[in-house]
């Protein structure tokens, strides 16, 4: 991993501060046009050396350079898929259903996490907070991840609805952090009293950054939903999609791939069908839309 392949960390900070684009191109190593893969809030995005290694692994399989592309919101990533500026994307489960239903993407594979291609929504509060269940957070502040996030928005709203609550009035104040890690940080810093986050991200951060695990506490979790999948823009070269599928499937068997998986705390990739995400579709149907849930780029 050469230093030149690293993504400049400061470029990421700018992304979170403004709505600006922070796509960083590696220097070309393999011949040919780069393969562009988008990362979203579904992944832990600030582990840059890890993505350097993953890119190196994939470049070996593609025989072409690999660019990881970052966007602040899921919405932005869907737009890139729409305009054809992406080849692949790791999207949230709810974004996937939207994109699939709009005919924008094809499924490549879903990560296997703790033996299953599923994840949950965790309800977390500050470690010092007395709240024991979702009802205890009534009238308090709450951090959502992204209006297009299943675990960080759709699922908690659906849970409130299921309990007969109006998700638009239940909390005193809600806001979006546009990232699961930052939703956890908002709770850890007590900016928000509670948050709903991706179980994979919370487990990952709790394992890798113990201080976050110490400062926040899980007080509830949803049923299991399909894990955010890797998708291909509909209409890309089938051979390229197949090569990607093969590369992902081969990761557990190859040393560099295994190493990346271990670091990501994933077991591997498995092919799933669209029906794997029906639970997300159902939750989205019952969650209801929200007027002010507009991503910054929509303004």
């Amino acid at each position: 991993m050469g230093e030149a392949r690293r993504i400049d960390r400061r470029a990421f900070l700018t992304t979170s501060a403004g709505a600006a684009v922070a796509a960083v191109a590696w220097p070309a190593r393999a011949a040919g046009a780069p393969v562009r893969i988008a990362l979203t809030a579904a992944a832990v995005r600030d582990e840059l050396p890890l993505y350097d290694r993953w890119a190196a692994y994939l470049e070996r399989h593609f025989g072409r350079p690999v660019h990881f592309v970052q966007r602040k919101t899921y919405h932005d990533v869907l737009e890139l898929l729409r305009t054809g500026d992406l080849d692949f994307a790791w999207v949230c489960s709810y974004s996937f259903t939207q994109a699939w239903d709009a005919g924008l993407v094809d499924l490549i594979a879903a990560p296997v996490y703790r033996g299953s291609p599923t994840y949950r929504s965790y309800l977390i509060v500050h470690n010092d907070d007395a709240a024991q269940r979702l009802d205890d957070l009534a009238g308090r502040s709450f951090a959502f991840t992204d209006p297009d996030s299943a675990t960080g928005y759709i699922i908690p709203r659906a849970m409130l609805r299921a309990g007969g609550r109006d998700p638009d009035r239940f909390f005193r104040r809600t806001f979006f952090t546009w990232d699961h890690g930052q939703a956890i940080e908002a709770v850890a810093e007590r900016v928000a009293d509670g948050a709903a986050v991706d179980s994979y991200v919370w487990d990952y951060l709790a394992a890798k950054r113990p201080q976050i695990g110490r400062l926040t506490r899980k007080i509830g979790q949803s049923e299991a939903f399909g894990f955010p999948p890797m998708v291909a823009r509909r209409g890309i070269d089938a051979a390229l999609a197949e090569r990607f599928r093969t590369a992902l499937a081969a990761m557990p068997r190859e040393a560099d791939g295994r190493r990346v998986l271990d670091e990501m705390m994933l077991d591997g990739y498995v092919e799933v069908g669209s029906a794997h995400y029906d639970g997300v579709r159902a939750a989205a149907a019952s969650a209801g839309a929200r007027a002010d849930a507009q991503p910054p780029s929509a303004l």
């Binding site: 501060a17 005193r172 104040r173 806001f175 979006f176 908002a186 810093e189 928000a192």
Partner: protein
Amino acid sequence: MSPWRPSSWSLAVKLPLIVCLVVAGVAGVTGFTVIQKERIELRQALAEKAVLLSQWIAAASAEPMMRNDVWPIWRSLRQVTSKEVDEGRDVLTAMVLDTEGVVMAHLQPGLNPIGLPLHTDGDETRLLERALRSETTLVLEDPAGGFVEGVAPVVGGGKRLGVARVRLSTRVLAQAVGEATGLVLLATFGLALIGSLAGIYASLRAVRPLGRLADAMSSLARGEPVAVPVRGADEIAHLSVTFNAMAAEVAEKQRLERELAQAEKTAALGRIAAGVAHEVNNPLAGILNCLSTLRDHPKEPGLLERYLPVIERGLLRIRAIVQDLLVEQRAEHASEPCGPECLDEVRDLIAAEIEGKSIALDWRNELPPDTMFNRQRLQQALLNLLRNAVQAMPAGGRLSVSARREDGVLVIVVEDTGVGIAPEDVGRVFDPFFTSRKTGTGLGLWITWRLVQSLGGTIEVASRLGEGSRFTLSIPLGGPDGSIAD
């Protein structure tokens, strides 16, 4: 030197003390003026910093506030105020409020929840009201002095959306002032120390020579002129040079006086020798004349009977002169101390001499018993005066003698009712060989005068022809108890 009266302190103490106090005073006043100025400037800088930070936060908050997106506001709030940005800064708190005072982001989010009005009371409420009213940037000060606050309005889309407030602790200020105060105190102390050393040096340079000068002057007053060392070319050196010149002049004068006295002594000796020669020569001439006549006329009867008494008279006179001179010589070199009773020995002597003469002796010795004086010289001087008085009263009379002590001076008054001294002779009575009587050698009063002079005293004479004379002897007694070591 009283410790409570500074005016009595030695210059060697006062000089270093004054220099030390002046230096310390100047250093202290200068130092604390600088500190005061520094404190004002630091406060100004702190206030500017607070305003700058609030402006940054306000600028970063405008866009998120317009879309009600509070998380980026909090992120920029924390980022701008993070210790990593500026180590020396001490952010007490920072916040972004909307125009109603509702918290959009607060650096202590747990105590100041998002979406609720900022909870305040007392002074805090007044500060909040001023911050919310402000259309421009503003500096607010803690009534208790603990912080300065920068306030900047958040403006977006041509509208005032809220306000950003940043509070910086003045602790760093107090710390800087504290450090500076320590330095000033150290410098003041150091300079005072240097000042004291300078003062001590100055006193060594100035006061010690002054002390030496004072000692030398005392010594000069005792008649022992000594020179002082001259160093440098300052006023004290000038004074020392002048003093040395004066001391040298005094020494020269003393030398001249000694030489003069020696010359006078030699001259007096010469005069006495001449007098003796003259006085001895007269009877000798008569004797030789008699002898020559006797040799020329050995057979002439009656001549021997006539001349022998003349020869005898001449020889007796010569013997008297020689005896007087021997007495003077003996007395002048004697130094046996004696008390008041020695005067009474003189009384006994003169009482024996006036026996058979109609002279009344009135003797009053009032000297205290501890009075000590030179036995031979005083006895001889007094005896000569008394004999002179007795000889002045061939027809009898009264001889009064009184001795007393007055302020360490032995005063003896000898008074007779004799023939007195002619006014034209009063000035010559102490000259050697001056006499108004045929039988006198003219040496008695001269010897008295010499003895009294050798004792450091004076002798005065008052006389009226035909009525009598009064001689007053005044002799200083040496020690404080009236005695003399001589």
